[in-house]
């Protein structure tokens, strides 16, 4: 798991951001993790630490409101927690969520299988490939 030692937490966040990710099989998740690892590999260690910290915050913050950790919440409640972070009055929190969301979207939509699944089929052959 590239971001957090607890795979359940990261995957709960991923499937809240991209519900289709719930249908990924083991190979799909391995591919997802590979994209995220490659993306984070070139980034400074400080950024990775911040993301891990942010992820742990997502796990424990819901305890205040819901009395349960993020991974124990329903999908609707998980979405509400993330929406709160996205709209938080503190810009740093919004940016933190935006960064995490970007990594998740890269991991999911950066896979050729996801591109195919949404009907994206650009080809170097351009018009010729369409005919």
């Amino acid at each position: 798991m590239p971001l957090d030692p607890d795979p359940a937490l990261f995957r709960a966040v991923v499937t809240t951001i991209v519900p289709e990710a719930a249908a990924l099989d083991d190979a799909g998740w391995r591919e997802f993790d590979g994209v995220v690892e490659a993306l984070l590999g070139a980034r400074p260690e400080s950024l990775k630490r911040q993301l891990r910290f942010f992820l742990r915050g997502i796990q424990w913050l819901p305890v205040i409101r819901y009395g349960r950790r993020f991974t124990s919440l329903s999908s609707e409640s998980r979405a509400r927690v993330l929406a709160h972070l996205q709209n938080d009055p503190i810009q740093k929190i919004r940016i933190g969520f935006w960064g995490l969301r970007t990594i998740v979207l890269a991991g999911y939509y950066g896979r050729p299988a996801a591109a195919r699944a949404i009907g994206y089929a650009a080809s170097p052959r351009g018009w010729e490939a369409l005919r």
Partner: protein
Amino acid sequence: MTRRSYDIVIVGSGAGGGTVAQGLSTLCRQGLRIAVLEKGPRLRDHEFNGNELEMAGALYADGGGFLTADGSMTLAFGCAYGGSTVVYTGTSMLPPERVIRRWNVPDLAHDDLECRARKFMAQNNVHLIEDDLINENNKLFVAGCRQLSYDVRQFPVNIKGCRGSSLCNLGCPNQAKQGTDRVQLPNAERNGVEVVTRCEVVSIGERTLTARVAAKGGGAKGDLSSWEPGEYQIEAKIIILSAGAIHTPALLLRSGFAGSLPRLGRGFTCHPAMIMVAEHARPITNFVGHPKSYYVDEFAESQHFVLETCMYFPFVTAKSLAGFGAAHSTFMRAFPRLQMILVLACDKADEYNRVTTGAAGQPVVEYRFQREAIEGLIRGAITSARIFFAAGAVRVHMPVARDTTIDAADVGRLEEIAARAEFVPGRVPVSAAHMQGGCGMGAHAAGSVTDAWGRVHGLPWLFVADASLFPNSLEINPYVTIMALADRVAQRIREDASALL
């Protein structure tokens, strides 16, 4: 540390560096030694495969994810043989007369810039794409604009043998785009200019540069550098900085030039941009054909925005849609039915927005969204929605609206939606690819960094030839103007060669 010596060293190989290299390359016939030092790799033709993340990682600085200091905007710029000309769409615009007049730089006339710009437009095969090669993503934009009586115009583009891959922003897989990597740099090399890739200039001093050549990483794309990996000290009688509007000011700042150049890094603008997405009821041709064929700039002066057609790839599209979850996925699953418009805000140079350096000397872009730019993004989003609906779209994604999905039935409520729109940094996805300023031209060091010919005030051996020369926003796609300014730098150096060399 290995030592090298040249007559002229050019830092960077994009629109500025490539052009100045070609312009000076005739001096090689007189025995002068000229080198271009490029931080990025030089890819082989077959390595341009259109894979989104792979190509972004190979061709863009930070894989296309360079962020402003507060993280609220992504800045995308190339880092490869050819710089950003490898990853733009090739849209080729003459410098606007009103902007050059407003810049008010002594000894810089619009006529002169236009004449030079036309020379490069001819050299790079700039023309209007034939109508039968234009896809529906672009044609629907034209149809919507005409229905609303907007003044829609076609972009001249610098392509030759385009197959319509739509992959321009990932480097053309068919070598159709005529960037400096295809035209000016090969010309310069034929005349004897040496181009050294994977070579990052760390600092400059009085007629010297310190540089670091990186080894090629395992699995990375591109050729090995012609120099062995390691540290280099390079002597040069003339140094020309063409590393772009982020890295050129940062290089000068970390090299200690701020004391004599108080405007260094100041005046940064970038055309903050928002990608608007709409869904049609039927599939349209969108990921085939040239992605950026038309624009509307009639609102640039009055409402601070320009609209351009665009088409992006799955990850960039996903990142550009606000929000997450089911609503987000619904738009992504409609990909073959999506139409896209890019809203570019016309930001202006101010006292806050600037390039600085971090503790390790790395570039840091301090940027705050100006009120006019925010208004431009919101008004541009609403105008885009009108165009989408006029073209027959059934739904529009509106990143600045409280409810980001707007149905066609809501077209009468667009002004109400505009009035309630919220631009919240960090929630609304904003990116930019037209970085400008930081070494603005002008008459004196108190108010500028270089003169009208790119020479740094007080340092006759040091020149700048890239978009950092712009004293304020150009308000259009900048690369042809960069080439025109770089041509002036080359001319000045050729004329002064006997004194400088």
